[in-house]
């Protein structure tokens, strides 16, 4: 039984949702960052599924840009986490309620 487009879509949706739930559940900033990476991966998968289904190239270009954006985001995100860590030796979101959340 062949693999249709919707198989990939369902899988991508599942990955996206796991990432989404992860962002809500975890309290640790770095883990949340990882979950966001997971969601971006799911988006990449959707793009590739559509691109190959329609035999078009621009889907892949988009994935190319998504990966660069993700890399830039991770770099800045981790820099912020380090800066924060230097002031307070925790990255656990619970203790970070200086201002009302």
């Amino acid at each position: 039984m062949t693999i249709t487009l919707s198989h990939y879509l369902v899988l991508a949706a599942a990955l996206f949702v796991i990432g989404l739930v992860g962002v809500f559940i975890r309290r640790n900033a770095i883990t949340i960052l990882m979950c966001i990476e997971l969601m971006l991966n799911a988006v990449n998968l959707t793009f590739i599924a559509f691109a190959s289904h329609m035999n078009a190239v621009d889907g892949l270009i988009f994935v190319f840009f998504v990966i660069t954006v993700a890399a830039a985001e991770v770099a800045v995100g981790l820099a912020i986490v380090i800066a924060l860590f230097r002031n307070r030796d925790t990255v656990n979101l619970d203790e970070l309620n200086l201002m009302r959340w």
């Binding site: 900033a29 966001i36 969601m39 971006l40 988006v43 988009f62 954006v69 985001e73 912020i80 200086l98």
Partner: protein
């Protein structure tokens, strides 16, 4: 092509700014921005599509460009003294600010979802760092982290929306999406889901109510000039892209998303204003007031159409100048570190600094929407657009909530004039930068308030370019 030259000017400026001496830096940044401003004005009128339909330099995007550049110039003026006082006077500050502007310009110009997304990312990433610029202070760090987490979260949603829309219509170019929609009336549920996700992404960036959690913390923690910038610039850019995406190709699906926007607008206006009343800290209050204004901006989105869009453009301009002016006053009064942001500190300002108090009153009136100021005219336009489009109920909510907002705006005015000064508030160091911004903003607010005609026709002409 000229668009890229404008971008390159800003880019060259960054490199120079990166290495320049502190003092001259701000000057270079301002000169560069003014140059870009001049260039954009000279472009008014033509409609050139560059880079194979990716980017367009039509009136609509030029209107926003001029607004963005003006906002940036005012913000730079605001931040010079502030940075020196907080000893974080680094050249990178201006470099990042220019990147932010670049991101915004590209968002307004983008004709392709890829360009809009990349513009959004350039804007957000430089904004995250700017929010956390004062590394030593904990609040600034924390605001940057919260803003970052929620921002990248919303970008993921935005991307997923683009992916689904790409899948169903086969292209990310707004023009081709529009054709694809004309072709088959109902492109199927997957498209609607994609559109909904896109909406969620935009709503996050615009901080409309269900997604506004990050705004108060991010605004309060960030350095004040950045708070001013954040509450005006990126919001306007988000609306620019929001309008372009949702009015052109998705006009066919207007029925669906208008209802959703209607709910969002009503919700944002009410919550934004109501919560603002209880805020002791002036920055948090202005943060909530900016959320409320995002709600007002959503109203013409619902009543889209020629009048709707031009009134939205006008409102963006009016709101931009008023907020920047208000923040100029806040900066002038605040002292090093986090002191001076409590509203109580404004007691008796009328006696200690009459000029500042007068300016603050003007801005508060404009935010609230009282006749002589630009705020009133702007609100009048958007509500008339809403009424014409038949959304009576929305207008009623709008008027009611602005009445509520009057309460907490005037509370400050009352505090300034009726109460004697609580303690001997130190004479605010009247540095040049914020004063100039104050003057420009006050002038603009009055100009738009008294004779709005000219500006409004400008806005109307730019809508034709859409």
């Amino acid at each position: 092509l000229t668009l890229t030259i404008v971008a390159l000017i800003v880019l060259v400026l960054d490199l120079v700014a990166g290495r320049g001496r502190k003092g001259a830096l701000a000057a270079i940044a301002v000169v560069g921005t003014l140059l870009a401003l001049g260039w954009s004005v000279s472009l008014w009128g033509e409609r050139l599509v560059a880079y194979g339909g990716m980017v367009v330099a039509d009136n609509y995007s030029l209107f926003f460009n001029i607004a963005f550049l003006a906002i940036t110039v005012l913000t730079i003026l605001l931040s010079t003294s502030y940075l020196r006082r907080e000893e974080a006077d680094l050249s990178e500050y201006y470099v990042l600010l220019l990147f932010c502007t670049l991101g915004m310009m590209l968002m307004a110009k983008g004709l392709d979802l890829i360009v809009i997304f990349l513009g959004l990312e350039i804007l957000s990433i430089s904004n995250y760092v700017l929010a956390g610029f004062l590394r030593t202070r904990l609040q600034s760090n924390e605001s940057a982290l919260k803003y970052f987490l929620l921002g990248s979260f919303s970008s993921a949603f935005f991307l997923y929306g683009i992916a689904l829309i790409y899948g169903t219509t086969g292209s990310t170019n707004l023009g081709r999406i529009a054709q694809a929609l004309q072709a088959n009336r109902d492109p199927g549920p997957l498209f609607q889901v994609g559109m909904a996700l896109l909406l969620v992404g935009f709503a996050f960036k615009v901080a409309s109510v269900p997604f506004h959690m990050w705004t108060p913390d991010a605004y309060e923690g960030a350095p004040t000039p950045i708070t001013a910038y954040m509450s005006v610039g990126p919001k306007a850019a988000a609306f620019a892209a929001f309008l372009r995406v949702f009015s052109q190709p998705l006009a066919a699906m207007q029925g669906e998303w208008a209802v959703v926007l209607w709910v969002l607008a009503a919700l944002t206006m009410t919550v934004g204003n109501v919560v603002a009343i209880a805020q002791p800290n002036i920055k948090r209050m202005l943060a909530y007031s900016s959320i409320a204004h995002a709600g007002y901006l959503l109203v013409p989105m619902v009543a889209s159409g020629e009048l709707g869009t031009s009134s939205l453009l006008f409102y963006v301009l009016a709101y931009a100048f008023t907020t920047l002016g208000a923040f100029a006053v806040v900066i002038l009064l605040s002292r090093k570190g986090e002191a001076g942001y409590e509203i109580a500190g404004y007691a008796g300002l009328g006696y200690t600094h009459p000029v500042l108090a007068l300016a603050m009153t003007l801005f508060m009136l404009s935010l609230g929407g009282i006749p002589p100021t630009a705020g009133f005219v702007a609100k009048f336009y958007i509500f008339s657009a809403a009424v014409k489009a038949g959304y009576i109920w929305l207008t009623v909510i709008g008027v009611l909530t602005s009445a509520v907002s009057l309460y907490y705006y005037l509370r400050i005015v009352v505090l300034m004039y009726m109460r004697e000064p609580a303690e001997e508030s130190s004479a605010a160091t009247l540095t040049a930068g914020p004063l100039v911004t104050l003057a420009i903003a006050a002038f603009a607010v009055l100009l738009m308030g008294l004779f709005p005609g000219s500006i409004f026709t400008l806005a109307q002409s730019s809508v034709f370019g859409l």
